[in-house]
Amino acid sequence: MTELARTPLFEEHVALGGKMVPFAGYEMPVQYANGALQEYKAVREGGAGLFDISHMGQVRVAGPDALDFLQHVTTNDVSRLVDDQVQYSALLNEHGTFIDDITTYKIADETYYLCINAANRHKDVAHLLSASVTFDVHVSDESDATTLLALQGEAAQKTLQPLVDIDLDGIGYYRFAQAHVAGSEAIISRTGYTGEDGFELYLPNTAAVEIWHKLLAGGAIPIGLAARDMLRTEMGYALYGHEISADVTPIEANLMWITKLDKGEFIGRAAVAARKEQGAERKLIALKLTERGIPREHYPVLVNGEVSGEITSGMHSPMAGGVALAYVKPEHAAEGQLAVEIRGKAVAAERTRTPFVRSNVRK
């Protein structure tokens, strides 16, 4: 077994009672001393939750062909980005299925910055490098030098403002600024994975511990992986390895809104267009139990008493009850009596929409 990596904040997590677990090749806190539910509440009920997500990867793409290259490797239309704007997007393979989902930051006309999933980092970077050979572009993996913190919740802006040299009100949703946090250069973006207002901060590793402590001193509450997963699942946000993978295209995953077939050629475009003609192999749906129980990943989903698919993410939502995302046969996406098989018993469910609870992102 390969040794697990640690972020620059490992010792801080342990000092706060963080229960460290292996995650995407890193030792990360699944929860701190007060437990996942208290952490979840801190983010949903007016606080500011602080997440170390430094395991995620960052790739800088620069050069005269940066735009053409990113149009070729990502699904969304990069030409629509203006400076200081962020775009949710994906990398597909030639089969039209997912290599990863990413965010694309436009820093300047010939400079972009990608945020990628930790577990996919080496695969993504190898793919980007090999796809880049016919473009005048430089692809550099900056992950190991970068600390990524998320500060999420209604109090996020109030907590961060005293540490920065810009007015955070000037940053809109899915926009960013290059400024300073506690004197350190940073990318500050109004993005996140919780459905609350908040920011993600890209920092040099050397500044990580100081800024972590300053945010905690300002009232931020540290949040582990368990609460992070609760918060993202309540929003119905896709997670690589769950809703998206090399087994599904954006059609199955309801991610055609980030897949612009009309923008011109890109890797996977032909396969997705063909799949669109044939129809989806399965469909991602949102469901809610109408009886007691917790729907969990891999539990079978029954339609009219027969197995139609399985849950990809499920949870007990303190606000919405038993909720889940699941793949079912396309003919069952909208019709048929729904149930989830829990320990051999069919527990009744109904189709619903995401987000499962109200989103408070600043639009």
Binding site: L37, I294, H316
Partner: protein, 124 residues
């Protein structure tokens, strides 16, 4: 972590309080702490016969699903239905308000540890 001296324990971290032929069952402080925030308890049906070592209830935390195994055999005569609305009682008071079921024992039992033996077991 507390390990009351008047209870017996299993190696799967259940506890049992024996009073005559009535046994009250739950999970230990160690078990609730290892599981984390408990958000769901699946209780057995009253009247069900259980054998020692049989999975008779399920406790679910935010991240995990865990079977609860019977320390003793017998008939379920009462369940703690308050846990349906307040499963967190298993965290806050595992030996009191967080009890799971009461059994009229048949006399059969799994391997039970006393306080000293369970403490030693946890240290191993």
């Amino acid at each position: 972590m507390t390990i009351p001296a008047d209870l017996k324990y299993t190696k799967e971290h259940e506890w049992v309080r024996l009073e005559g032929d009535i046994a009250t069952l739950g999970i230990s402080d160690h078990a609730q702490e290892a599981l984390g925030d408990i958000v769901f308890v699946e209780l057995p049906e009253v009247g069900r016969e259980i054998a020692p070592g049989e999975a008779f209830a399920v406790v679910e935390s935010v991240k995990a699903v865990s079977d609860v195994y019977a320390p003793v055999g017998g008939e379920i005569i009462e369940v703690n239905s308050e846990l349906e609305a307040e499963p967190e009682k298993v965290n806050t008071d595992p030996y009191g308000a967080g009890w799971i079921a009461k059994v009229k024992t048949s006399g059969a039992s799994a391997e039970l540890l006393d306080e000293a033996a369970y403490t030693l077991y946890l240290e191993e």
